[in-house]
Symmetry: C2
Subunit: 399 residues, 2 copies
């Protein structure tokens, strides 16, 4: 008997790579199940629990009942608070009617890319970059064009790179600042030059600012307002420690809000109600004070980890200034980041992510460390790694 | 000075119609703001609040903290409970590893259609149908092919219609049973014949069963297992009264779970954590008893409303057997359902939805009533409509 024939699946699946970080996590869990202690530096999620005022607000909402659908754009009070937060803390003039609350920044990206991409539209983005971004582009029929970046541009695009890689089909430029995996930011004036480039060429600028609140250079400044055709994506997950609540937003030009609303109504109806109402408490002074303490803790961890990993021999030529990731060159020991991560985990119980999750440009000699664990655990991980690395031969170019 | 030129937006937007029901709701809210009492029969959401055991479970989870991301496939305990629910209550053999918990049935549809549709794939579906379904197909590059249906097939597709409308590019057939807007179901043996047709032609069968729990003919029976390449979409929103929690699921063939997981990881990371953990309480006997009482209440409302609207002169040739909608022929008075709804609202304060939201086939002479309000309000609405309709001229064909 012949094998059964199955209905065909979409071609897009071939273009969506699995996350290698999941392979790391599976191996890490297997080690833990076997009794090993694992230091988790692979996880892209704050270790801090959701701040108490937010959980308390959620409890009050639960007691009141009435967890029904909301407007597809989000509850008006939350749109207002978000806009106010831009004015008070992020140096940008945003009105509530430009803010669309979404089911995580994932849904924000879905709405924006569904709005702006046609089949065959090119989107320029940095390589390395957060893999979901390019997979989203791909899912909606667009073509992600990864532009190799390195220490010279702080692992980010600049206006010259954008101009140089422009294609006839380029419809948008996607910037993530601070970036996952590199933790580096695009300077405001450079972003302004990129915005001038997209404006001049009649294209869209999409800026992922989900790590903006976790900026360590001083007061964070949003890019909102740099271009006419600009969409800023953000989230309650990272800075506000609300990952599991699945809540984000987009700041959009007013003339696109009606179309984005139409897409939201169709693609997910409305963001989670309890999350929206609880998130109102994010903007209370009490919550912001908790978050500021946590931001300082992240900054201190970064300071420690950058120095400690450099000491071990990792290459970190640019100090990351935001988020909670470091992108480190491991070429001293390996040119196969996947094997390097696998071997390190097996030998030391320290889990981190191979660069190949984030693109193709020198991804084989980079790894990503997340500092989403407490200081003592970071120190433990570094000590374990150090002992193991000392046993490895140094590759010829580094000898 | 010339008008500013803006970056182009996607062609798909032109194919996504706004919801006319929103126009009705906006007008209804304006009336309410002006002091009028409005009877809401336009709303596609149960009036019953989320059952207490579910809210109590959520409160316990909140107190424990730890609302982090979950597996993209959903928490294992919930996947297990859903599978068990199929075995115990829906007459189908489902294993936990076939169940993917999603951020609402919207995300379930997004995953499934992203998996199976290429640019230019045709999807056959009934006209009338839930508008999001065809807009989803369209957003992912597919072509929704609406097949006109009427009372002869209970406003549903049958195997003969499917065969007759098959195109070279047909990749899938999408059935909703019970259907929004018609409340009618496809008989199990007819669904089996449709499944045989899709299997024979090497295509996918997607069945939207989000209203299956609200079935009034006897014990509901899922279509899971009728075809090899079959995806069943469901939701906690309607039967379980959890709309604002944004939680649904898909039952998929095992060989597709890995790809669906990959898509979920990229497109929304994980479903809302608190919603998932609270939803475990949906399957407790105490909750199921509450839901059964509410199902009976819906059935009683249906019995009342079908008879009352027929009495007024609406055409309801097929008694709906599930969900909470009636699709009624208003051609006795109007061949412009949009104007009819607008005029009815203005004259009577009763809000309901024009058929043009659901397709094009005789949509101008149909309207949808939702019975998501309590009995006394239904009676009030019917009385007001009756008084107004008595003042309208009857159109020639009906005289």
């Amino acid at each position: 008997m012949s094998a059964p024939v199955h209905a065909p699946i979409a071609r897009r699946l071939a273009g969506i790579a699995p996350f290698h970080v999941m392979e790391v996590q599976t191996a890490a869990r297997a080690l833990e199940a076997a009794g090993r202690d694992v230091v988790h530096m692979e996880i892209g999620e704050p270790d801090f629990p959701t701040p108490d005022p937010v959980c308390e607000a959620a409890a009050r909402v639960l007691a009141e009942k009435g967890i029904y659908y909301t407007s597809a754009l989000g509850i008006p009070a939350l749109r207002e608070r978000i806009a106010e937060h831009y004015r008070m803390h992020l140096g940008a003039d945003v009105a509530a009617d430009q803010v669309i609350v979404t089911a995580g920044s994932s849904a924000a990206l879905l709405l924006v890319l569904a709005l702006i991409l046609d089949d065959g539209s090119d989107v320029l983005l940095a390589d390395p970059n957060y893999p979901c971004n390019r997979h989203f582009v791909h899912t909606l029929g667009g073509r992600p064009v990864g532009i190799p970046v390195g220490p010279g541009t702080r692992y980010q695009l600049d206006a010259a790179l954008v101009a140089q890689h422009w294609t006839r089909d380029t419809r948008a430029v996607l910037i993530a600042s601070p970036s996952n995996p590199t933790g580096t930011e695009v300077a405001h004036d450079e972003l302004a030059r990129i915005a001038a480039e997209t404006t001049r060429r009649n294209a869209h600028l999409v800026v992922d600012e989900i790590y903006l609140g976790l900026s360590y250079r001083g007061a964070p400044r949003s890019s909102v307002g740099l271009a006419e055709d600009q969409f800023v994506i953000s989230s309650f997950s990272k800075y506000f420690n609300m990952t599991g609540w699945r809540l984000g937003w987009v700041v959009a030009p007013r003339r696109h809000v009606r179309d984005l609303e139409k897409l939201a109504q169709n693609l997910y109806i409305s963001p989670p109600t309890l999350s929206q109402r609880a998130a109102l408490a994010c903007f209370e002074p009490r919550t912001l004070a908790i978050l500021e303490d946590r931001r300082i803790a992240f900054r201190d961890r970064r300071d420690y980890l950058v120095a400690a990993l450099r000491e071990l021999g990792f290459g970190i030529p640019v100090v990351p200034t935001g988020g909670f990731f470091l992108y480190a060159d491991c070429s001293r020991w390996s040119d196969d980041s996947r094997a390097f991560c696998r071997d390190a985990l097996a030998a030391t119980g320290v889990a981190f992510t191979p660069g190949i999750d984030f693109g193709t440009h020198r991804a084989n000699v980079h790894v990503r460390f997340a500092y989403t664990i407490e200081h003592a655990r970071l120190q433990d991980g570094v000590a374990r790694l150090g002992a193991w690395l000392a046993t490895l031969p140094v590759r010829p170019a580094h000898a």
